[in-house]
């Protein structure tokens, strides 16, 4: 495999100047987004990003919209046009992109590239997904019906190789990377269980402090107390959190949900003109590796090398303050962070166990609550995690704000297996 990264540079510097994401919840249940369709969700995220950037819709020159399963979950394809009218972007250049659960960092990359190539000054990357229900054929969009989980996952597996049938293994790639990691570093199954549980525990501690993580209402300590247990970790080890594979438990998994995210990017040379110096966070680098689902370690390496070459990062251990893992499978917290060099090999699990990767730790992961506690609205999650990183870098995260300056951040995303994206942000 040719894994040597060329060093690409943007021909015009680009910064993120506005971010927004909706409450992540269930449109059939959560009061904050009750009865919303995809349209309201994506518009809500966009309006928040506009307000954040002190801009209006008319200022946006072009947009990219990410939605993984538009056909299945919205009975629609070609959704850029559909959402254009809703977002006040009618007749502007609009593009729909799909790369499974990293769709919204693909769209971010493309929005950045558009500005960097001077075919736009201000561009929008937005994303939406409604995973909790499905449209009813022939009925308006707000009328939806429950989608059985097995049908949902079957459709999700369309992201895997159909020609050679790799999707027979995808439902529990939960185990693969976790067990391999444990073997390499000599962890017993009990130790691995503690690490995975602690990852979920750390996520939840941040989630309950994030007003957007509406499904994370209780800490695991509170859950434990309610069930007469001594500690949150006891609760996570209990039958309330059953195992469904060798290592994975229910609460280690992504909580599928509904949500949207939006990111507005602007040419660096315009940031001062718009008076947005306080908003701007530079897009320093990105990397993307596409391959069949069986190629994960090589994909990680390729995408990371591309991004580091572009961002000029040589010692990630010292140059990155924040690492956002794509923890739809919570084991990714240690496999990805070590692949990225945010930790040395065999080191991440110890940091997780000691709570040092939690929002108030010294080597922190995402502070949103992650996919296990904030939830996972597939295409929209990657963009929401970029937004969360920007909020941290500006020091605007309130109760979940890191206790040390976040000057650089890496957001890593995986889409169903075939896509791996890395995005690097630096303080302007």
């Amino acid at each position: 495999m040719n894994n040597t990264a060329k060093r690409w540079t943007l021909s015009r510097g680009v910064s993120i100047v506005g971010v927004g994401y909706t409450p992540f919840g269930l449109i059939g249940k959560s009061p904050e987004i009750k009865d919303f369709t995809e349209r309201e969700l994506v518009s809500m995220a966009f309006m928040e990003a506009l307000q954040d950037a002190r801009l209006e819709a008319k200022d946006v020159d072009a947009f990219f919209v990410a939605q993984y399963m538009a056909e299945t979950l919205s009975s629609s394809n070609s959704v850029a046009g559909l959402y254009a009218d809703w977002m006040g972007l009618r007749l502007k250049p609009g593009f729909h992109m799909e790369g499974a659960c990293c769709s919204s960092t693909l769209t971010l990359r493309n929005a950045v590239q558009m500005v960097a190539s001077s075919t736009a000054d201000i561009a929008l990357s937005c994303a939406v997904e409604t995973t909790s229900s499905s449209p009813v054929p022939g009925k308006p969009a707000h009328i939806r019906e429950q989608m059985p989980t097995d049908v949902l996952w079957e459709k999700t597996m369309y992201g895997c190789d159909h020609g050679y049938l790799y999707w027979a293994g995808t439902p529990t790639s939960f185990d693969g990377c976790a067990l391999n990691y444990a073997k390499r570093h000599g962890l017993t199954l009990e130790q691995l269980d503690d690490v995975l549980n602690m990852s979920a525990y750390n996520n939840r501690r941040a989630g309950v402090l994030n007003p957007k993580a509406v499904m994370a209402t209780k800490t695991f300590e509170e859950e434990a107390a309610e069930h007469g247990m001594k500690s949150g970790m006891d609760f996570l080890r209990s039958d309330f959190n059953p195992k469904f594979s060798v290592s994975a438990r229910f609460l280690h998994c992504a909580a599928t949900c509904d949500g949207a995210s939006a990111i507005i990017v602007m040419a660096d040379d315009l940031v001062k003109k718009y008076g947005l110096e306080d908003r701007a966070v530079k897009v320093a680098g990105f990397g993307t590796a596409a391959a069949t689902s069986a190629s994960q370690p090589e994909q990680y390496e390729s995408a990371i090398k591309q991004a580091y070459a572009m961002a000029g990062i040589t010692v990630p251990r010292h140059e990155l303050d924040y690492f956002s893992p794509h923890d739809c499978l919570i084991a990714r917290q240690f496999t990805q962070s070590e692949a990225a060099g945010f930790f040395d090999p065999g080191e991440a699990w110890k940091y997780i166990l000691e709570g040092r990767t939690a929002f108030d730790g010294d080597r922190i992961f995402h502070t949103s609550g992650g996919r296990s506690s904030m939830g996972h609205a597939w295409a929209a999650s990657a963009g929401a995690e970029v937004a969360e990183a920007v909020i941290q870098m500006r020091g605007e995260a309130g109760a979940r704000q890191a206790n040390h300056p976040i000057n650089s951040a890496m957001i890593m995303n995986e889409g169903a297996g075939p896509n791996v994206n890395v995005t690097i942000l630096k303080k302007a």
Partner: protein, 131 residues
């Protein structure tokens, strides 16, 4: 270009494990692809592979998609074939208590794999056996 996917399955139907070998650099692709991922060569020939494999990762699948429900629960292998390609598939002879299976995995007892061909409804497919 030829119908590579169909040819691969046709060979499996005949009981043959075949990959595409790059005539330029010698890399063998199993399953097959028309452009060499090592050297970008396009001159390929079908070759029989040994069927030997090495386990990288193992997973227990308890709730697969409906097409594979009949096999569940099953262990699944992320593995390399001896010729170098990554090929993942079900493990047919690993079963039992997950903690025991993990102990075997740790001890390297599951490392050596051999591909065999499983007859399924309408097609045949390579699966791994621990040897």
């Amino acid at each position: 270009m030829t119908a590579i996917t169909k040819q691969w399955y046709d060979y499996l139907e005949e009981g043959r494990l075949m990959g595409l070998k790059c005539k330029k650099c010698g890399a063998v692709h199993f399953p097959p692809f028309p452009i060499c991922r090592e050297c970008s060569g396009t001159d390929m020939e079908w070759v029989e592979i040994s069927g030997e494999g090495h386990l990288d990762e193992i997973a227990l699948v308890t709730a697969p998609d409906q097409w594979f429900e009949q096999y569940a629960p099953y262990y699944y292998a992320y593995a390399h074939v001896a010729e170098g390609s990554v090929f993942e598939s079900m493990l047919v002879n690993v079963e039992g208590d997950p903690a025991d299976v993990y102990e075997q995995f740790l001890a390297g007892k599951l490392d050596h794999l051999k591909l065999e061909i499983q007859k399924r409804d309408g097609y045949s497919y390579p699966v791994y056996r621990c040897v």
